[in-house]
Symmetry: C2
Subunit: 350 residues, 2 copies
């Protein structure tokens, strides 16, 4: 097997603001794994707060020796090798780089078997629910116009809260739309009591779920809040990989799984099983990324209670066509083998 990788900075359609940080570009690396003329595609997307960069991802990928494996079906050996490749470093991580390999290898195996990944995972595509579309903070006029624009296309809207102007934003949306809302506090509320007060207000506004209300390490506060909240509490920053799902039992109603956090489809599938075992809900999220990584996450969408898979809709230089589509607001899976992607050349480097 041959591994190729290429930095591919993503251009955002609109400048994006979260917690006081604005950006118009996001770092990304596309990869390709080729075996006997068949190519699987993968991607590493690196939001700055996760500590990876184009440099760190390329450095990690330069050390991955896939030539040592001559059978892509041996995913257990290959992914175990990749997962432990940085075990001797001070701080083992490189989860986005690992996710890229995991995604490309799954795509390759799916193509070799002639089956879409969701089918190989035993899933039923009609179980996919609505994905959310994020409405940013803006003037009331712009917000109303934006909501009217997307209302026919999406079945759920997502709003960032825990920032100045959040209640105003929700009230503005409510002037023009009855769509269910989810909110993401991104650890922004400072005490469990204050969070509960906010959530009680939000539950009267047609909000159906709250993401990461408190700082990620405040397990005591999260436990207190989970016992009292009228809305489901879903943890994102508190949960990176499978071990965190066990650790967060009792501290939430569910978890937000992202391939770039956990290292790909294999750990994500384990996290889903752990969540189910513990009676937790499952949310699938993404970063700003091309259709490649979003489509990979979407293969697990039939298992999820909440979907936030709009990352590819936020960029202006997607490198693929095919893959997952949003139709009538729902994530809609295709029957093409693997991820079902066709590279757009150009701009796709492969």
């Amino acid at each position: 097997m041959q591994l190729r990788y290429h930095p591919y900075p993503l251009q955002l359609q609109h400048t994006f603001t979260v917690s006081g940080c604005s950006r118009s570009q996001t770092p990304d690396v596309l990869i390709a794994i080729t075996h006997q003329g068949v190519t699987g595609y993968g991607e590493a997307s690196m939001p700055p707060y996760l500590g990876e960069s184009i440099e760190s991802v390329c450095r990690f990928l330069s050390r991955v020796r896939l030539e040592a494996f001559d059978d892509p079906f041996r995913t257990d050996d290959i992914l175990s090798y990749v997962m432990h490749l940085d075990d001797d470093e001070a701080e083992a991580h490189n989860f986005a780089a690992k996710a890229a390999i995991d995604i490309a290898l799954h795509d390759l195996v799916g193509q070799l078997l002639g089956q879409p990944l969701w089918r190989l995972f035993g899933l039923s595509p009609e179980r996919c629910t609505y994905t959310t579309y994020t409405i940013g903070i803006d003037t009331p006029e712009v917000v109303r116009q934006k909501v009217r624009e997307v209302e026919g296309q999406f079945g759920r809207l997502k709003v960032k809260v825990g920032v100045p102007g959040d209640r105003q934003l929700i009230q503005t949306i409510r002037e023009v739309s009855d769509l269910p809302l989810t909110v993401d506090a991104n650890q922004g509320w400072t005490s469990p009591e204050m969070a509960l007060e906010q959530i009680e207000w939000l539950s009267g506004q047609g909000v159906i779920m709250v993401e990461q209300p408190l700082p990620k390490h405040d397990l005591e506060g999260l436990r207190w809040l989970t016992q009292r909240s009228p809305l489901p509490i879903i943890l994102d920053e508190s949960v990176q990989g499978p071990a965190d799902v066990i650790r967060m039992k009792g501290c939430c109603h569910g978890i937000n799984i992202k391939l770039m956090k956990c290292g790909g489809l294999a750990p994500a599938r384990l996290m889903i099983q752990l969540a189910r075992m513990q009676g937790m809900q499952v949310m699938l999220g993404c970063m700003t990324e091309t259709s490649c990584a979003v489509t990979a996450a979407a293969q697990l969408a039939p298992c999820a209670d909440y979907l936030d898979l709009d990352g590819n809709l936020l960029i202006s230089n997607d490198a693929f066509r095919g893959g997952m589509q949003v139709i009538d607001g729902r994530v809609t899976l295709q029957s093409a083998p693997g991820l079902g992607l066709t590279p757009l050349t150009p701009p796709n480097p492969f």
Copy 2:
């Protein structure tokens, strides 16, 4: 999909004695799931101590409505339906019956994809280690003869301990063989201190692993023993399904996974992942069963540190040929699709 099932009592080659109970037959049910002319085979084997019987298995299977599913690839929905079919009963179990469905469905999907299950699981068949062969308590002369007979065929022997005559048995084996031994105490030792003393003696006799030294609920004792034992402690009776793997962290060095205990390949795969996450070793065991269930367990053999997959060698009326073979003492996987079984008709009822 069409489900058929048939009671199929297994005839033992030799009367089998464990903890004072002798038997020459063991209850078993064979099943077949057919979809568009392709048939997957499954099996429920019911050792008396697990509380299932031919009657309970047939009663459970009579309630499984596979006609409601027209796509065998939807294993997540189908197995979830089967797993929760007895949720309203006082004591939900029927794990052997559930394992039968899980095995047959996996066999069917593997055949439809034209691939052996181990390959669909991403595993490398050359990782399979030796399986043990159990030497029963008998006169020294018979034991010596038996050991000489099997020494060329097997690479590990297993001995039941915690019963009168166990040390004598091990010494008798050592007169004629240097093969590594594993021992199974079946909860037979009465205190952690006494167990430690036995294990220390055993570690001087070429024993490499100890199964279930203490009563299954004595977690305190197991924790104490695990910290001190010179040999790995593997738990069998203490561990039924995935939740037990989490619960037993720190109380053992590893777990013994059996399809009839946990409900099939899907939960067994989850248990393997949980064990790895927690740094535990994995043993794969079986009941007295035909090549069908033994071959199903063997699909996971590349993940196991210890294998005890000799169940089909103990019966005189195996209903299949093909599937897993023991070659030079090692579990050896075949490349035929699914489980790779051919029913022997007769005696196979299908």
